[in-house]
Amino acid sequence: MRLHILAIAAVFSGLLALVAINQQANAAITITEEKIAKIKNHCTENQATLNRLHQTDAFLRTNRGELYRAISDKLMVPLNRRLASNQLDAGSLLTITADYNKKYRVFFDAYISYDNAMSKLLSIDCSRQPVSFYNGLVEAREQRQLLSASNQAILDLIRSYGSEFELFKNEFEAEA
């Protein structure tokens, strides 16, 4: 009897899961006729806009990447080493630097995913495949949000390191 109940429960759960998955899949491709018409009407201008954005982002990513690496490799790490070689405790600065490098890796990977999503989106003909185009747009939007979040995390750590350095400097000057 128990086995029967368990089996029925398992089948019921499986069906519920299937319905949920199906609903999600439908949600991803359900686009109103009105939206399809707008995608087709603005196809050329949106393709041009997205192409420009793709180029601007590539420059922005290179620019940001160089700046973020410079902050870590040419400022944070040298200061931490200099403090260590002078037998000064810089534990919190070291922790922030380690977090910063981890977040930079997240940013690095997030940009690759975003760029792949954008390349995929740009390869879709929006006048012939408006639904695929919109799904690609939604995917690119999500990837861009992740990228933006990873970028913000790096900026927060830049602020934290600056504040922590100020604290260290004030303590050092007070002791001197």
Partner: protein, 97 residues
């Protein structure tokens, strides 16, 4: 012999291209076709930043030097606070609302 050499070259090219794609260099390569404007912008701002020396004593002067350099770079980083914001891909921006 020639076929063997061609085979090895093709294999090495395949390995090189695989590394180019898998390492993420592809996404950062502004020399790709279609990235002319980005390339020109990148050249404009190319200057060498020497950074902070990891050797030397820690005193008020060296800490002030670091502070100046860090503030300069942090200001550059924090100036574009909305980099990669999601608005540019919104339905509204693309006239799809």
């Amino acid at each position: 012999m020639i076929i063997g050499v061609i085979g090895i070259s093709l294999f090495l090219v395949y390995v090189a291209l695989s590394l180019y794609v898998s390492s993420g260099t592809l996404q950062l390569d502004l020399s790709r076709p279609g990235y002319d404007s980005a390339r020109k912008e990148a050249v404009k701002g190319s200057e060498v930043f020497k950074g902070y020396s990891e050797d030397g004593p820690i005193d008020a002067q060296s800490l002030n030097e670091f502070e100046t350099l860090y503030r300069q770079k942090a200001a550059e980083a924090l100036i574009e606070i909305d980099a990669f914001s999601g608005d540019v891909l919104s339905d509204e921006t693309l006239s799809l609302e």
